[in-house]
């Protein structure tokens, strides 16, 4: 044994973080993924969202929970809807909001992702809401903030690659809980492009954590990830069999670029097999609800009469989405 080995310092901080969403006290300090979060943490956010729903119905739609905080919406991938709901949520919490649509051009200008973060930290950012095309980008930012000692700055993942979209997962859970109350007796079916879907992954982790006994995914073999069973779901290729007797149907958006490769032959054939019609929905329970994260492709993954029908809760999802994002931001960064 050499003296050097005996006196070697411990590994540098941040090299091997423990659960990357928790701070040294075990408190939720970032929201990066629903995977691995305790059920209590998820339920805590859903509970916190309840009173925020009514704030949206008031004359004065503001509470001072984030007064004085600066929130940067950092969108490396364009998204109008998610960015807008985060912006509204932050403003209702009285925060100052700055929207940065960085797109792909910034990388060609030479500034790296972490350079951007360092610059915005120098402007005293409190929260980064990050949308990025690469899986794991928000984790990288969170790790960088820890490594540089900026423990007071928070990251909220607003969608990273195919990996996670935890605030969408939470609003989906909120919607399901609102209409169905108890997760422990539910069959939930997710239909479509699960392979590329961060929405599906986050919802699956949330449902399995909250005890939903039966989660199914439906799609052709080209759009279901290999080993998808390892996430705790049952795969189906036949949509009618997959919908049989379910309580909740979640339709995923089919990106138009999926048609250009060899994943699918055409949107018409996709609709024939996996588009949600009244006829297919008849296989679900009579009181089953229909959800969609938006924006919808009518006639591709969902038929208009179903999207606008009485079992559709697609618009309430949007309303709940703002309340849930208020709950996320106030839980993580509240005064």
């Amino acid at each position: 044994m050499t003296a050097r080995a005996a006196t070697a310092p411990p590994p540098p901080p941040g090299a091997r973080p423990r659960h990357p969403q928790l701070n040294a006290e075990g408190k939720l300090t970032h929201l990066l993924t629903l995977e691995g979060l305790p059920a209590e943490a998820i339920e805590g956010i859903l509970d916190a969202a309840e009173p925020f729903v009514s704030i949206g119905e008031r004359e004065v739609k503001k509470v001072p929970l984030l007064r004085g905080k600066t929130i940067f919406n950092l969108f490396f991938e364009s998204s109008t809807r998610t960015r807008t709901t985060f912006e509204i949520a932050a403003k209702r919490l009285s925060a100052d909001v700055v929207n940065l649509n960085i797109g792909v051009s910034s990388t060609s200008k030479g500034e790296t992702l972490l350079d951007t973060i360092d610059n915005l930290c120098a402007m005293n950012a409190d929260v980064f809401v990050v949308r990025h095309g690469q899986s794991g980008a928000p984790h990288l930012i969170a790790r960088h903030l820890v490594a540089t000692g900026r423990h007071h700055v928070h990251v909220i993942n607003a969608g990273d690659g195919r990996h996670a979209h935890p605030s969408q997962g939470l609003l989906d859970l909120y919607t399901i809980r609102h209409y169905k109350r108890d997760f422990r007796a539910l069959s939930v079916v997710i239909v479509g492009d699960v392979l590329h879907s961060r929405v599906a992954r986050s919802l699956i982790h949330g449902l399995t954590t909250l005890g939903a006994p039966d989660v199914r995914v439906v799609g052709p073999a080209t759009l279901l990830p290999p080993f998808v069973e390892s996430l705790g779901v049952r795969p189906f290729h036949d949509m009618r069999a997959g919908l049989d007797g379910c309580d909740v149907v979640v339709m995923l958006r089919l990106q138009s670029e999926r048609m250009r490769g060899a994943l699918l032959p055409s949107s018409g054939e996709y609709f024939k097999h996996y588009g949600l019609t009244a006829e297919k929905l008849a296989r679900a329970k009579p009181d089953a609800i229909v959800m969609h994260p938006g924006p919808m492709n009518r006639g591709v993954e969902i038929d208009s009469p179903v999207a606008d029908g009485e079992r559709s809760v697609i618009l309430p999802q949007v309303t709940f989405g703002i309340a849930v994002r208020m709950a996320v931001m106030s839980t993580i960064a509240g005064n």
Binding site: M1, T2, R4, A5, A8, P9, P10, P11, P12, A15, R16, P17, P20, L32, E35, T112, L113, L114, H132, Q134, S135, G136, A137, H139, L140, R143, H144, D160, G161, R162, H163, A164, R198, R201, P225, P226, F227, V228, S230, L231
Partner: protein
Amino acid sequence: MDLAIIDGRLIDPATGLDRRGGLFVRDGRIAAVGEAPAGFAPAATLDARGLVVAPGFVDLSARLREPGLEYKATLESELRAAVAGGVTSLACPPDTDPPLDEPGLVQMLRHRARLLNQAHVYPVGALTQRLAGEALTEMGELADAGCVAFSNADHPLADTQVLLRALQYAQTFGHRVWLRPQDAHLARGGVAHEGVVATRLGLPTVPAIAETVALSTIFALARETGSRVHVARLSSAGGVAMLRAAKAEGLRVTADVGVHHLHLCDVDIGWFDPQARFVPPLRGTRDREALRAALADGTIDAVCSDHAPVDDDAKLLPFAEAEPGATGLELLLPLTLQWARDAGLPLLAALDRITRRPADLLGVDAGTLRVGGPADVCVFDPDEPWRVLPPELSSQGKNSPFAGLEVVGRARWTIVGGHVVHAARR
């Protein structure tokens, strides 16, 4: 200058030697093994009590980043890293900028390396011009300039007709061909092993079939042409099974594995750790165990560091954008010893995979303590624990998944051509 290394444990896999004694060096060559020749009066004596005296290690793949990528590493830094790790001969792949597809580049590289007087550098020439997979390089000229083999580095040939012709042409003149078994189409856009981890993390994949489909093509072409082919960086259990069958059939195929793939698997990606991004990707535990067993039973011939110095900026990116690879020259010895300890193999067998066998694959006079051979020697402490601290590594590449962890086994002295080129600070 005469040099004596005394009282060490001499191990030479090429001759089966494993005994206590001295090693005596004269005029850059090994003059005697065991007892000193009559009248031998060394100018310097190294006391190797408690240490192993072995042939300097031979590494089948170490990127030196010259020419063109000096911001990542230089010959100075990487050859210092080589001898600090006990590596006295190394092959460098052609994926430089420009690639090693011109004799002049190869001559310059060898000239620069010779002036530094550290480890011997054996360039691997580009198999196709610009590594573009279309037109063959002037293999004869490149071999004359010093290339010991030809490969397309990490740019597998998509065009099987080009591959067939490359094998036929190389065979005509007896050139060695090294191929990375990866189907270009199945691997397109992938960054992680297709398995539970990639599914969870939503990472695009390089499935194991990208390797087995490529191997079936390579072995079919080897069978057709009778070519000798070396398969570089095997990564999957399926690939190991195919290699075993190909050898049993009598095909003239050999293979190596990167040392990180003996110890890590896709689970080590954790939460998107770019230090665990490799090409080929770290695969599942079943694959890792198959690689370890195949190296132990000789199906896989050699282990290499697959040294890839990467600057920090290139690692501080989202997983899929981060540059693959890790620094490896200074970890080849301890990670190989760790594998052998786990497998219950003696030191002789462990050193075999980083001395005699890779030297045979390169076709160079190295990797043995034969009397009369070049005095390229590593004297190491097989039991010395040390912590991998990136700032203390000689390599300009500080990135390693083993950073902060303790490993066992470290070079004390490295001798090249009879000269002590590395002496560990004590």
